[in-house]
């Protein structure tokens, strides 16, 4: 087992990793930027080294300084957390060449699954369903119609040079396809300088379902069930839950097997997550893979009673995945709400500032993963997430009730937070019935506007 680990991250995940290290009796070295000097993860670590000024490219992304700190601190391994360098194959390679264990997958796995189109290709080869699409751009209306027939309506016309949700329009039949095809080409030319478009299956009202997988050095891969992350605002997750209200045991088995198959195909090691889109008919399509621990890992931990960060460290140290981890069934229900220092009334504008009063929620079934404390000043250089509130219960209704209680109890003064939004979501009838898709939040905001007018 490792003697000392460097945590190449900050905020709540750095604290999370430090806690797992403490549980394992491993000494910790935190690296931090100048504005993070008073941050909780720096205080909680055994040792700390400053690696640069506020902006991430000059601190948390500076591979040379992090490696220097690792050498100066004589660490055995580095945990990269999520974001920052966690999916940098180059960083993983540098660690390898400096004889420091990177707590995560191999640089090769990161490359093969981190590249979106390579990942889709690997999925296709492994027999895992991907959203059907035209193989490349369609040049004429006739081609478009042929491709659409093959894919099956409804389809999405997407600009080849587009991205971030831009340059897409749906088509439900040949007539709207032809009209849309011509209009999309014109738009794409204007917006991106490239008129080329391709077609993809339009998955209506999808759920974003992701599967947690773990792989050890012996090639054993297990899955730890799914998380439903459909509640998103502009493609940013706000609330996650496990198990998904949409997934029954059969679908869980099928998708779990697909996730394992794909991970095996790339000889994946350590923790990872396979993301899928699932429609209302039980059809699932592979989207992409995240080759790291995820923000929302606590819901899986609470449902299965497993410490995922500890498992990451143990796997990296050469330990086997216990056989008890295979074919687990969810025993409890967990929901996580991300608390961001943002002002919902001002279009979720980030609100860095000083927390004058912080009272975290507690009681049965409540877990708060946060680096907040009374008097803490949130620096403006990083993302606005200041904590994750997790509620657990024997069933979904209890988890929701506890989440509601906990959100109502929490006091954070000095900055605006997204807690009021969370309070409204857990009281929403559709959410409580488990009836939601990735369009939930847009419709939720529309409802609000209608109700207030």
């Amino acid at each position: 087992m490792f003697d000392k680990i460097l945590i190449a991250n900050r905020g709540e995940i750095a604290l999370r990793v430090i806690r797992a290290c403490k549980d394992l009796g491993i000494r910790t070295l935190a690296v931090y930027s100048e504005p993070d000097h008073d941050s909780l993860h720096v205080q909680a670590a055994d040792e700390a080294i400053c690696i640069g000024p506020g902006p991430s490219p000059q601190s948390y992304l500076k591979i040379d300084r992090i490696i220097s700190a690792a050498e100066v601190g004589d660490v055995d391994a580095i945990h990269p957390g999520y974001g920052f360098l966690s999916e940098s194959a180059h960083f993983a390679e540098v660690c390898q060449s400096c004889n420091i264990r990177f707590i995560g997958p191999s640089p090769d796995s990161i490359r093969r699954m981190g590249d979106k189109s390579l990942a889709r290709e690997n999925a296709r080869k492994a027999g895992v369903p991907i959203p059907p699409g035209s193989d490349g751009p369609v040049q004429t209306e006739q081609e478009a119609i042929k491709a659409a027939k093959k894919i099956g309506y409804p389809v999405m016309i997407k600009a080849v040079a587009g991205g971030g949700g831009k340059g897409m329009r749906p088509a439900h039949n040949d007539v709207s396809l032809v009209k849309g095809f011509l209009a999309a080409r014109m738009e794409a030319e204007k917006a991106f300088g490239n008129p080329e478009v391709y077609l993809e299956k339009f998955i209506e009202d999808p759920h974003h379902i992701e599967f947690q997988i773990l792989g050890d050095k012996r090639g054993k891969i297990v899955h730890l069930g799914e998380r439903d992350c459909s509640i998103q605002r502009r493609h940013q997750k706000l609330l996650e839950e496990a198990p998904s209200p949409l997934i029954d045991n059969d679908l869980r088995k099928k998708m779990g097997r697909a996730a394992i198959k794909l991970a095996e195909a790339v000889h994946y090691e350590n923790a990872g997550t396979m993301e899928f889109l699932v429609d209302g008919n039980g059809n699932y399509y592979f989207l992409e893979m995240n080759t790291r621990i995820q923000v929302e890992h606590p819901v899986t931990e609470e449902v299965y009673g497993i410490d995922l960060v500890k498992e990451q460290i143990k796997i990296a140290a050469g330990e086997r995945i216990p056989s008890e981890f295979e074919n687990l069934r969810p025993q409890r229900h967990a929901i996580e709400f991300r608390i961001n220092a943002e002002d919902p009334a001002m279009d979720f504008r980030p609100c860095p500032g000083t927390i004058s009063l912080y009272y975290p929620p507690g009681g049965i079934g409540i877990r708060m993963d946060s680096h907040m404390y009374g008097g803490y000043s949130i620096p403006p250089f990083y993302d606005s997430m200041i904590g994750k509130l997790i509620a657990v219960g024997p069933d979904r209704a209890t988890a929701i009730a506890r989440m509601q209680r906990a959100l109502d109890e929490t006091i954070i003064r000095g900055v605006k937070t997204t807690i009021p939004l969370g309070q409204r979501i857990v009281r929403d009838q559709d959410f409580r019935r488990g009836k939601y898709s990735t369009h939930f939040l847009e419709r939720f905001f529309e409802k609000k506007v209608q109700n207030s007018s």
Partner: protein, 161 residues
């Protein structure tokens, strides 16, 4: 007097039907009087003895200790003088001379300009020559030869020219 002693006094007063007790020692005075309903009231002149119940206070900061300084210290440098310092631009090990038996690059009193090499910081087996980046006279050497330094650590205090 501590809480145990006060409780003992109150007990004694009850048992013996006493109404008032006063005690003074080393500037601390305490008076215990049995109120109209027989219950003792305690008056203390040194405020720390019986603190009033506190409303949830606005916290001023986390009272955890700063990280232990081995091997790289975090303790913020206390500027004894208002003179500027030459700070470390990287993480590594500080060396004051180009080789173990060679004389130091600079000493207290050395006059430097922007291009003067003042020390070496070794990072990942690479010896990096650190320049003064300003003109002036070295007044203090703040880093220890052979010891690790972090980004921003003041290495030398310099009196600008």
């Amino acid at each position: 007097m501590d809480i145990k002693e006060i409780k003992a006094v109150i007990d004694l007063m009850r048992k013996n039907s006493l109404t008032e007790f006063e005690y003074e020692k080393d500037g601390t005075k305490i008076r215990i009087r049995r109120g109209p309903d027989g219950e003792p009231q305690v008056f203390a002149s040194s405020p720390s003895l019986i603190p009033a119940p506190a409303v949830l206070p606005i916290a001023t900061g986390l009272p955890l200790s700063t990280p232990t300084p081995a091997p790289a210290a975090v303790a913020p440098a206390v500027a004894q003088e208002k003179l500027p310092s030459i700070n470390s631009p990287m993480v590594g090990t500080f060396y004051s001379s180009p080789a173990p038996d060679a004389p130091a690059y600079v000493d207290v009193g050395t006059v430097v300009n922007a291009e003067t090499v003042v020390c070496i910081i070794e990072a990942m087996k690479v010896m990096n020559e650190i320049k003064a980046e300003m003109s002036g006279t070295i007044t203090e050497i703040l880093a220890e030869n052979g010891k690790p330094v972090e980004f921003g650590k003041p290495l030398f205090r310099i009196k600008p020219a």
